[in-house]
Amino acid sequence: MNNLVIKETKTTPEINFDISKHQLNISGRSYPENISEFYGPIFLWIEEYLEKVNDDQPVSVNIDLSYFNSTSSKVLMDMFDLFDESVDDGKTITLNWIYDSDDPDSLEFGEEFQDNLENIKMSFTSK
């Protein structure tokens, strides 16, 4: 399985999923014109990765999004649910929410995801 790297555009975030480091980074802005076209391959990659990675291998997911629209918010929720279920199945995943300390909303958005997750305890880092 290969790393997944997608360059940032005005409306889509940078994707940098590194297998050797077990780091899954998403950063930038997310409001794609066609949500399933952009996130479809990303979900396929994540599903395959979660099947292959060892349970005791620490994986860190880092989300650093300065903006995501409501449709992306739904997709992120679905993505975090995947990680949440994997943790329930025994995987070792940390989910880091990187927020803008000047914008209280950006921390709140992260906390709202946490409210809807059962197994993962998110960590919050300001930038």
Partner: protein
């Protein structure tokens, strides 16, 4: 005709509107307008929370027009409308106007009125609950756009409908950030 242009521009200025666009909304226009406003508010030293809220409201409102103002329900290419962005006593406003099928008025009115009746906490709870559910049947997104707009708005959403003919009406929505 050209003799009234100056007057039109002055009218917009008097309403404190600094961006006006009328036409179709291909996706590049949406991101371009959002970008222009982001750059302007950075230059004007607007705090980052207000800046991000304005950006979010502009994107969601334009996406609503992009998805729902087409002549046919599934035709996004003809989505046409108007966006205006302005500033007034330290606050920003976003006005979007577009044609919609008259039969869509009642459900839309009910939706906006129910959002306007909610407190910020209720909107937050509703947003989280909706996000966990499947989108509504006629939705092209996650059915979250209007809730998102209401959450970012400082005041209840202002809106009006005006009948154009038997089939179509004009829908205007104003959000204050």
């Amino acid at each position: 005709m050209i003799d009234i242009i100056h007057e039109c521009i002055n009218d917009l200025k008097n309403e404190n509107i600094f961006l006006y666009y009328n036409g179709t909304f291909p996706y590049e226009i949406i991101s371009e307008i959002a970008e222009i406003i982001m750059n302007k508010t950075i230059m004007d030293d607007v705090n980052s929370m207000t800046r991000n809220r304005l950006f979010a409201v502009i994107v969601e409102q334009m996406q609503n027009m992009y998805f729902y103002s087409g002549k046919n329900h599934n035709d996004v290419s003809t989505g046409e409308g108007t966006i205006m962005v302005g500033a007034e006593s330290g606050q920003f406003f976003v006005i979007c106007a577009n044609k919609i099928a008259t039969q869509k008025i009642d459900p839309l009115r009910e939706k906006i009125e129910s959002l306007n009746a909610m407190s910020k906490d209720e909107l937050k709870a509703y947003y989280k609950q909706r996000r966990k559910q499947e989108p509504e049947i006629d939705s092209k997104g996650a059915s979250l756009g209007l809730i998102e707009i209401a959450r970012r708005s400082r005041k209840p959403l202002q809106f009006c409908f005006k009948e154009i003919d038997d089939e179509y009406s004009f829908f205007t929505l104003k959000t204050i950030v």
